[in-house]
């Protein structure tokens, strides 16, 4: 017997795989919306690069789309990186500071 899996079943499985093991499926709407939002946000951020150079921005946009497919549920990664662990935030702040100084000095 070969089970008939329609496209709807596949999409449903893919969606519910985000929330497996959480035992609280009411959050699914939130996670789904968050996933779509962060997708669009990433695309918009990539298209921002047109301010500096348009060809490079196009390459970046393609790279971001490829990256989105690779890291499929972005929202879980985002949630992990947004953890309120002290050391993680400290690490991000140090990197941020280095980037700001580098960018402003480069722009000079």
């Amino acid at each position: 017997m070969v089970s008939v899996e329609t496209l709807f079943d596949k999409v449903k499985k893919w969606i519910s795989s985000f929330v497996v093991g959480r035992g609280y499926t009411n959050m699914m709407t939130g996670y789904m919306t968050g996933e779509l939002q962060s997708l669009v946000f990433a695309l918009i951020l990539a298209s921002f690069f047109r301010i500096f150079s348009i060809p490079l921005g196009m390459i970046l946009l393609v790279a971001v789309i490829a990256g989105i497919f690779y890291f499929a549920p972005i929202i879980t990664t985002l949630e992990k990186e947004n953890s309120n662990d002290l050391n993680r935030v400290l690490f991000w702040v140090v990197i941020y500071f280095a980037v700001i100084i580098a960018v402003t000095l480069w722009g000079r």
Partner: protein, 502 residues
Amino acid sequence: MSAYPSNLWSIPLLVVIPILVAVVVNLIYNRARLIKVISLASAICLALITLFSSYGYHWFTGQPALRPETLTFTFDPGLPAWRLALEFYFGPLQQAMIFIMSLILIFVVAVATSGLTKRQGPYMGMIFLLYASAAIIIMVNDFYHLWIAVEIGSLVVAGVVVGSGTSVSHKAALKYTFFSALSGAGLAIALALILGLTGYPNISDAIMYIQSVNLGEMSIILYVAFGFFVLSWIYAGGLAPIHPLKSEVYGASFPHGTAMLQTQSKLMLVAIGIVMLRVFGNLPFVREVMLAISVITMMLGVVMALIQTDFRWILAYLIVSHSGLVTVGISLGTTEGLVGGIFQAINDVIYMTVLLLCCEALYYFGGKTSTRHSLGLAKKAPWLGVAIILGTMAASGIPPFNGFQSEIILIQASLKAGLPEVAAVILMVSVTTFIALFRAIYRLFLKPPETSEPIVEAKVPMVLHVGLWVLVAITLIIGIYPNIVVSFITPVAEAVSLPWYL
């Protein structure tokens, strides 16, 4: 301005009165009635001072910023350096911002003294010190006071958070205070670098020096100073990399404490952002860096708000996200952008306070704020349901309310500046705000309760009702007549955005 500018006595009162009240209230510690009377009276007094004070300067040492004969700033290459003009400036913008803050202080004090907190004395003292630090940062025109007020503010935030007394709040306060080392030290270094470069602690003087003297190779120092300044800016306002800690601070304190905290941090964002624009605005890539930080903050905050399961944490992340909305306007640097950003800060403070007071009212119905429970509160307390939906509409920018007015200014400003992507992000943020809030409201208010056990109902104090409806009325009034506030902001925005329009 023909006469020599006189030293205004009324401005320092905005700082002195809260500090005095903090000391007195701390001393009488536990006598609730007396604390209530003193703190309410002084909060009303502060609001009256901001309403009726005249505009002008107060300088502590050195000389005033304006010279009567030429109407120029004190900058004069002929005079020796180290003039030490430490001063406050009180103008229309400062009046609008401090008046809104005083209004919220009145409601916060009234709500806080009518229940929930024990050990009221020290807690009230912390709230008044928070007000004082924000007032200094809004009025200040020299780097020294700016730095001290940011330091005081960061310590007092920890105090307010600890006031709620849970272990989560202790953790949040500890993490937040560890960062004051980085940001405060960074601001001190930035202050020392600018001081070493220009020789003026006064912001106006330093700007005049930077614009009139060719710095040459020394301008590298300005970039490093900008980096440190950004560090303290993101720390004070809870922008992108620090937003997990800041949202934890917002979520862990009492809702009325959060109302004061978000007021302080949003107005601080505006004030420090304007200082950064004035000092560094002409450098390349500065406004791009600020814009990138605020866009990332908006996006991360709103996406994280979507996946929270507690109404308090949803509000906490939304506050962070809307701080990004404020700084987008400021970092655009155009007149419309500045007007939109500052107007958004004022509106934001008001409607978020409405939502936070609703969250406070939930505490009187058993204290369950998690969206895992469906309480069916709309039947128990229809007034609360109406208020929270009105607050949500204001927060997501639906026309008759004030959020709409500032967001449309922001969208127009970003389109005019040639950045349609920013406009798209702003639109998405306002829509997602609505989704995130309404998910919680549906679970808490509209969905019929799952269990049949009755909700514990305590008597909601009268001040909470009054504060809620007064603030909702203000959102409506500002939404219909935005010029009440915009007329205060526009001249300042025109003055600040001048340098790159010449």
